[in-house]
């Protein structure tokens, strides 16, 4: 399967600008080609695109593609590790092994109906290998160049923290945005604590487009995560609660913004999210 490639490349191949300096003759080259409005509103930020052209990867338990609330899934793979720890990526015909991935996909579809959904399943092969498989799946997803990767999961293993951090940073520089569930328990877990990802906790309100910027990190945003009606296995529906369901709400809002403004870098996207958050400027 192939993800749709980014469409952020400059119009002409140009000499790269050295990362550590900006020569005078290069100033014109980094001039932004898209004009920002004087005031960033939700109307401008989300536009009418419905997330069209944005590829969203659900890194989770799989997605039940035939579910009416999920619609078409562009690609579904399962990640495992071979005898020599090499990453194996195969087409996934199992669907969903828990229901959770389907729930996340349905939430994204409801808010950003025109986005392209992809499923990368990193669960199901037992607990023991789940950390390395999560890393391998994330690395693969970043290599595909998805615009957004929804990560309603975390690891507490210190040995993976460094590698996850490198992956999160490389995604950030490649314009792949990781949206990750925060933890409400007294443990260190990753990748949501890294500043290169968008971390999400839950609020108790019922509007799916209400989201708050948190001025007290590490959790950056709060989105709807309590009493959410979601798609579940077997064509069913459930009412659920948890940060892992707030995360796809934020992913979908990102898809709306990138659908309307595909040129945005993750840094700029975070700025737009900040300016349109319910407690900043989003309710006016």
């Amino acid at each position: 399967m192939e993800a749709s490639p980014h469409e952020h490349e400059p119009e002409n191949e140009r000499e790269p600008i050295p990362a550590w300096s900006l020569p005078a003759d290069a100033v014109d080259r980094i001039r932004l080609r898209h004009k920002w409005p004087e005031r960033v509103t939700r109307e401008w930020a989300w536009g009418e695109a419905g997330g069209a052209g944005v590829s969203v990867c659900i890194l989770d338990s799989g997605v039940e593609g035939a579910h009416p609330l999920v619609g078409e899934v562009e690609g579904a793979v399962v990640v495992s590790l071979g005898d020599d720890d090499q990453t194996i990526v195969e087409d996934d015909h199992e669907g969903d092994l828990c229901g959770h991935g389907t729930a996340c996909a349905g939430i994204v579809r409801a808010i950003a109906p025109k986005c392209d959904l992809h499923s990368v399943r990193v669960l199901g092969a037992g607990y023991t290998g789940s950390g390395p498989v999560l890393l391998a799946g994330l690395r693969w997803a970043i290599e595909q160049g998805f615009d957004l990767i929804n990560m309603s999961l975390s690891t507490t293993k210190q040995q993976f923290a460094g590698l996850l951090h490198e992956l999160a940073d490389s995604a950030y520089f490649k314009r792949t945005v990781l949206v990750a569930s925060a933890h409400n328990m007294p443990v260190e877990s990753y990748p949501w604590r890294f500043s290169s990802v968008i971390s999400v906790g839950s609020h108790e309100e019922t509007d799916p487009l209400t989201f708050f910027y948190n001025p007290e990190p590490p959790v950056e945003f709060f989105a709807r995560g309590v009493g959410v009606d979601v798609a579940w296995m077997g064509g069913g529906q459930l009412r659920v609660t948890g940060n892992s369901f707030a995360t796809p709400h934020m992913t979908a809002i990102c898809a709306l913004v990138l659908g309307a403004h595909p040129e945005l870098t993750p840094f700029q996207l975070k700025n737009v999210l900040y300016l349109t958050a319910t407690n900043v400027g989003g309710d006016v």
Partner: protein
């Protein structure tokens, strides 16, 4: 003889380990069930060798039948909770026919709703705490409460695992460790006078052996 192993083995002998920690876990699920006014609550422990979750303590529905029962470690809601380290709450599980059938086959009981929280201790995921079929609608404050229970249960599970590892050292058949642990256990049960006499005798034995 490795001193740490000796200490662990003796501790196991003195504390009659397994039962004490199981009683602690049982008390945690009993309290969780009462506080959330739920029909049942359970703690499952990850068996890393078998890569399965094992029911260690159950209150309410299933208390008589579920302890010792095993489930896959990375599928289903319990498996998802363990592997992703994320808590979640589901209302009306009965709407999910596949889950209901699977659960009924494995546990003999189909809950309508559940709260599922990973039991995390330091950087390890030890198991899962679940609360089934609670009465009132759910709030975020209760998620915090559940997290605190999870923390307590994780400490209990960690103690249980340590005790079992210590017991395994004894069971490896090292006669000298078993003999010392047995002595420690017997000594612990004696009245004050006889205990003091026993300790004095042991001290004398140490002095003889040291020479």
């Amino acid at each position: 003889m490795n001193e740490d192993r000796l200490r662990a083995a003796v501790s196991a002998g003195v504390l009659s380990s397994d039962e004490s920690y199981r009683a602690l876990l049982q008390s945690i699920v009993d309290v969780a069930r009462a506080i959330f006014a739920a029909k049942a609550s359970s703690i499952t422990l990850l068996d890393e060798d078998a890569d399965e979750l094992v029911f260690e303590a159950v209150a309410g529905e299933g208390a008589d039948t579920l302890v010792g029962r095993r489930l896959p470690s990375s599928t289903g809601i319990m498996g998802w909770t363990l592997t992703t380290r994320q808590p979640l709450v589901i209302e009306d599980v009965a709407q999910d026919p596949r889950h209901s059938r699977d659960t009924a086959e494995k546990t003999g009981y189909v809950p309508k709703g559940l709260m599922s929280v990973p039991l995390l201790y330091e950087e390890r995921a030890l198991g899962v705490l679940q609360v089934l079929d609670r009465q009132a609608p759910f709030s975020l404050a209760e998620m915090e409460l559940l997290g605190m229970f999870g923390n307590q249960a994780a400490i209990g599970l960690d103690l249980l695992q340590r005790a079992r590892r210590a017991k395994a050292v004894l069971d490896e058949g090292e006669a000298d460790v078993a003999a010392v642990a047995g002595l420690a256990a017997q000594l612990d049960e004696l009245e004050d006078d006889r205990r003091a006499a026993g300790l004095a005798l042991l001290q004398a034995l140490r002095d003889v052996l040291r020479k």
